[in-house]
């Protein structure tokens, strides 16, 4: 196990490095960048930047400077926000997004797993068709459609939930559901498929022949195999939740990193963009590693591969 972790960590470092480098050079070389002298910057910011980055130095030196700064944990000053550094901005907004993502994941797992497992236990019945059709709807109604619609019905018309903000618990319901809905749908389909596949295996028949109750059969024998596709999906799901947060935070006016990222993309706040990309990439790589580790823990056959 430890070997796998080490191997993956070692693999991740060059990947991360590649991402940062590509993004860095993309930004520096793109037309209309801040380092394009035609663009006018707020003089305060201009000062800070010039103080921080030696813009007259050759590109490679700027690069090594930036990387050096990174290694000491410094993402640099924001290009748009005169008073804050990227570190500060991220520190403020990231926890919010983390919370949103966590709730959304919980929603997705809870609803998805339950629906999928029940559907698998009674294939081709209404307990199968109804959740699966709802799941299809969840996949086909994108979160930027679902969000405004939920807002409209429950926030404005019925007034059950507030329209924006992220203070009270009640604020958090609609956004979490909006973000989690699509993943609940995918998880439902994946767990149904996984369970059906496991239940068709011979060893389930052996377990039945041993006189096990259906409950024990499902929980102890079938579940582990059935959940495997869901765990494998966690990696891409995280990536999706991240990008989904851009929309959801925008629609519900939540002060999270996603909204900030989109704004900084538009505002061409380069350091902010770079910082966010690095953070996101790291997060996803870590979560993929966790997902893979979980897979090997569940399926002993993968352990020595």
């Amino acid at each position: 196990m430890k070997k796998i972790v080490l191997k993956r960590l070692l693999e991740s470092i060059p990947v991360l490095w590649a991402i940062v480098t590509i993004t860095f050079f993309l930004i520096r070389l793109a037309p209309g960048g801040p380092f394009d002298r035609e663009k006018e910057l707020d003089p305060q910011i201009q000062e800070r930047i010039e103080a921080h980055y030696n813009l007259n130095a050759p590109l490679m030196e700027q690069y090594t400077d930036y990387m050096g700064g990174l290694l000491s944990g410094d993402f640099g000053p924001s290009f748009k926000n005169a008073s804050s550094s990227v570190n500060e901005l991220i520190a403020q907004s990231f926890p919010v997004s983390l919370e949103l993502g966590f709730y959304a994941l919980c929603v997705a797992l809870l609803i998805g797993l339950t629906a999928g497992i029940i559907a698998a236990l009674k294939p081709n019945s209404w307990q199968d068709y109804t959740p699966m059709t709802l799941a299809m709807i969840g996949i086909c109604v994108p979160n930027f459609v679902l969000g405004p619609i939920l807002l409209f019905i429950f926030g404005i018309n019925l007034g059950w939930f507030p329209v924006s903000g992220w203070e009270e618990a009640v604020d958090k319901v609609l956004p979490s559901i909006t973000l989690g809905a699509m993943y609940a749908a995918y998880i439902a389909r994946l767990s149904r498929g996984g369970m059906l596949e496991v239940l068709s295996n011979d060893f389930i028949r052996t377990a039945r022949a041993k006189g096990l109750s259906e409950t024990r059969l499902i929980l102890k024998h079938a579940l582990r195999g059935g959940v495997t596709p869901v765990i494998a999906f966690l990696g891409p799901a995280t990536a999706g939740l991240l990008s989904g947060s851009f929309v959801v935070e925008t629609v519900f006016q939540i002060p999270g990193l996603g909204k900030l990222f989109v704004e900084s993309a538009f505002n061409r706040d380069y350091t902010m963009i770079l910082g966010t990309v690095i953070l996101y990439a790291t997060l996803i790589l870590i979560l993929n590693l966790i997902s893979d580790l979980l897979l090997t823990w569940i399926d002993p056959r993968l352990r020595n591969a």
């Binding site: 060893f203 028949r205 052996t206 039945r208 022949a209 006189g211 109750s213 582990r224 002993p300 056959r301």
Partner: protein
Amino acid sequence: MMSLLTVDNLATHFHTRAGIVRAVDGVSYSLEKGQTLGIVGESGSGKSVSCYSLLGLIPMPPGRIESGSAYFDGVDLLNASKDELRKIRGQRISMIFQDPMTALNPYMTIGAQLMEPLLLHRGLSKEAAAKRSIDMLEAVGIQDAEQRMNAHPHQFSGGMRQRVVIAMALITEPEILIADEPTTALDVTIQAQILELIKSLQEKNGMAVILITHDLGVIAGICDSVAVMYAGRLVEQATASSLFHSPRHPYTHALMKSLPSMNTDGKELYSIPGMPPDLTKPIEGCSFSARCEHAIEACRDDIHLHTIMLNHATACIRAQKGEL
């Protein structure tokens, strides 16, 4: 004295898109304590399905037990409640399946799977169950049993897995063991070891065994009585010695003829001409008549199993009349 198990007119049909497959079409037999009954036949004869039906292991759509009863200790297995069946399965009647590679749960340790029936059915403590499991592993010939308890199935070879499956079935000392081709994956020495183990349990506890196989050699080795199945029906039933001494059904005859050991003159191996019948179509009269070299007009009439000698019954009307 009442038999341990009395199966009467069991019929199991599968309702598929291609038609109703009459996999088992009216099979009756009885099993005594300590007796070993061999059920022999080619693939598709219904021998496995008939036994799976006893424990309710047939997938119920598309399968359906159309008729029959199977009395075990006063309970009709075919009409028992789910709870009753569950208490019997694994504890009083155990089953060994054909394919050892897929019969074990790849996600659980061998030990966990072995201890499960003990913890559930016998209420043993974990330590007692573990000890018993280790003993059982040793009895089936697995070395280093204690370490092996924590291993997973994929770490074992096919032969070892089959031995674990057998251990798992025998661990609760059931009254009936149903074994579906239990020794195909094993080499001859292990085969002998396993059959010895089963025999010793029979002597100790009076365990009855139903052995499903296509291998007449195995039958000859350990079975007391034999039932020959063809196309879902019983065509001959006798004690093993009586069957081998004087088979009284053309199909049994043909089976014996096709044994490699019977064809020692170097000529082509005998194989039964023709194909097994389509089980979706109702069969008129004797199911074997289409391929039988002794068939006559009367073979198309209703056929029943009749006792023609002591402990020997056949469904062939010509044999019943003494013509064969």
